[in-house]
Amino acid sequence: MTLLWDTRNLFIRALKKLTRNPILIFFSLFQPIIFLVLFTQLFHDFNLLPGFPPGVSYLQFAAAGILLQNAFSSALQSGTSIVDDLNSGFLQKMLVTQVARPAILLGRLLTDACRVTVQSIIILALAFALGFRIESGIPGFLLIIFIIAFFGFAWSGISLAIGMRTRSTETVFGIGFTLSFPLLFMSTALVPVSFMPTWMQDVSSVNPITYAVNAVRDLSLPGYFSLSAELTALGVIAGIAVVTMGATLYLFRKVVS
């Protein structure tokens, strides 16, 4: 009970901070919007190449990738918040209260999931204006949002762990940036897997971004939906979540004690 209540209160605190400093919502939106507007123009004729899903525009294809790319890099910034609390002494101030310890992390993660959701809706709205459509309708839209938020939630843990370990905002940003691009390009986010050289196809097939991207893409393209692909993606994300939460909790214990 205490855990739920404390999580709720810390979630509200972080939401208040976010709404009073909305630049944090829009800051990371710059890149996906550039992708959405410029990439889709630049690679407009990709869909003429063999191997591209027939009858699908590049925008329709890449939107899923851009959404997940945003979720990924946004999640990898979430560690900066805990760095701030660590360095300002606010974390210590919380730790000398009776707060349920995990609530400090959970409140944070929920807020980050919220942030990614808001960002994703903005990106989807812009994509919609450019002609993107979700073929599976409202249920598909909701499932897409859920997958993206869950994906963000899972990766936020890594960032929190890095933040607690290094206590440096710059390092959190740096590592986030370094990780997000290679993983993005070696996934099916921006091109079909058949476009890649063999070795990259291998990397892509174990790249968690690929699974999430495919799950979202299958929901937006006509006739691609497959329950097993959706479940696989959710399973992969859950697996990541378990690993990152484990690491985060372990480091948090060290900070706490």
């Binding site: 901070k17 300002s88 002494g89 606010f90 210590q92 730790l95 000398v96 209260t97 009776q98």
Partner: protein, 338 residues
């Protein structure tokens, strides 16, 4: 003040991962209702001790109990009883003063109307009622400290740990903080554990204090008791030369009189008079006046200065705390050490 020990610390040691002994086997007791202090320079181990006592840092060895609870076995119970103000002013700049306090109260498991009323009351006590709904980021340094202090009080703690609560404050804000701390201790009976590197802060506020240096307690007692340990007050006198006698002759006569007084430890020639080191200056002065009256030497002025805690620190460590303090707070010169 009762005679119950609220905090007992026995042979506490903290060794950091790099081998530094931050706390090197200290033992002390704090009584219920006492205003207790740790006075020492930066790096003496004050903050480390507070972090251990407030469950933030795991001790290397030793035993600590607070209100009968063992620190290691019952950290949760201890957290209910304590309020902690750390050295950094940890208020959330993006939340308002009231929101900061409400959050703190919620984390201390207080809710609803009870919490709301408590917060309103405390905001009034620390003089932040009018600024309550402004973001804390826009507060002045003194206001932030007061908000921070109010946050530590939300759940009505039995013991307050204040880690250098006035460092970096201007003299006026510092005085205000002192008033609050005194009133919390005297009127509400809250036991206070304070760390400071300011001599006058320890002197004014503490019932009892430990002087710490390099992770060790080098002296312990009441401020008055510690200063008395120095053994003598410095009394500077000037005299009127009696008719026909030179200044020097008067001094010689005065010295002769002084040598008959058992309280005098030492007499030194001062610029235009004499400096006498004597035990219990207050008691000694009437004696001095009577003796000089008898010998027909007329006193023009008497200036008593009691030894400061800095003299105590000097005696036990061979160095002064004050030097660093002056560098950090140049505006504080003349802020009444004596």
């Amino acid at each position: 003040m009762s005679t119950t020990d609220l905090i007992t610390v026995d042979n506490l040691v903290e060794v950091y991962a790099d081998g530094t002994k931050a706390v090197d086997g200290i033992s002390f007791k704090v009584r219920d209702g006492e205003f207790f202090g740790f006075l020492g320079p930066n790096g003496a181990g004050k903050s480390t001790t507070i972090k251990i006592l407030t469950t933030l840092l795991r001790k290397t060895s030793g035993t600590v109990t607070i209100a009968g609870y063992d620190l290691e076995k019952h950290p949760k119970e201890i957290r209910k009883l304590i309020g902690v103000q750390s050295q950094d002013t940890a208020v959330d700049p993006e939340l308002t003063g009231r929101e900061n306090m409400m959050l703190q109260g919620e984390l201390q498991q207080m809710h609803g109307k009870v919490l709301g009323e408590r917060v309103d009351h405390l905001l009034e006590v620390v003089g932040l009622k009018d600024a309550a709904d402004k973001r804390a980021g826009r507060y002045s340094g003194g206001m932030k400290k007061r908000l921070d202090l109010a946050c530590t009080l939300v759940h009505e703690p039995k013991v307050l740990f204040l880690d250098e609560p006035t460092t970096g404050l201007d003299p006026q804000s510092r005085n205000t903080m002192w008033d609050y701390m005194e009133s919390l201790n005297e009127k509400q009976g809250i036991t206070i554990f304070l760390t400071t590197q300011y001599l006058e802060e320890a002197d004014r506020l503490c019932d009892r204090l430990c002087i710490v240096d390099n992770g060790k307690i080098v002296a312990e007692g009441s401020p008055v008791g510690l200063k008395q340990e120095i053994g003598a007050d410095a009394i500077t006198i000037t005299m009127e030369s009696s008719a026909g006698a030179t200044k020097e002759a008067t001094k010689v006569a005065a010295k002769q009189v002084l040598s008959t007084l058992p309280a005098v430890v030492n007499t030194i020639d001062a610029e235009d008079g004499l400096t006498i080191y004597a035990k219990n200056g207050g008691i000694f002065i009437p004696e001095l006046i009577r003796a000089f009256d008898k010998a027909n030497i007329r006193l023009v002025s008497i200036n008593v200065s009691t030894p400061s805690l800095d003299d105590v620190f000097l005696k036990h460590t061979g160095k002064r705390i004050r030097a660093e303090e002056l560098v950090k707070q140049p505006s504080r010169a003349g802020f009444g050490r004596r």
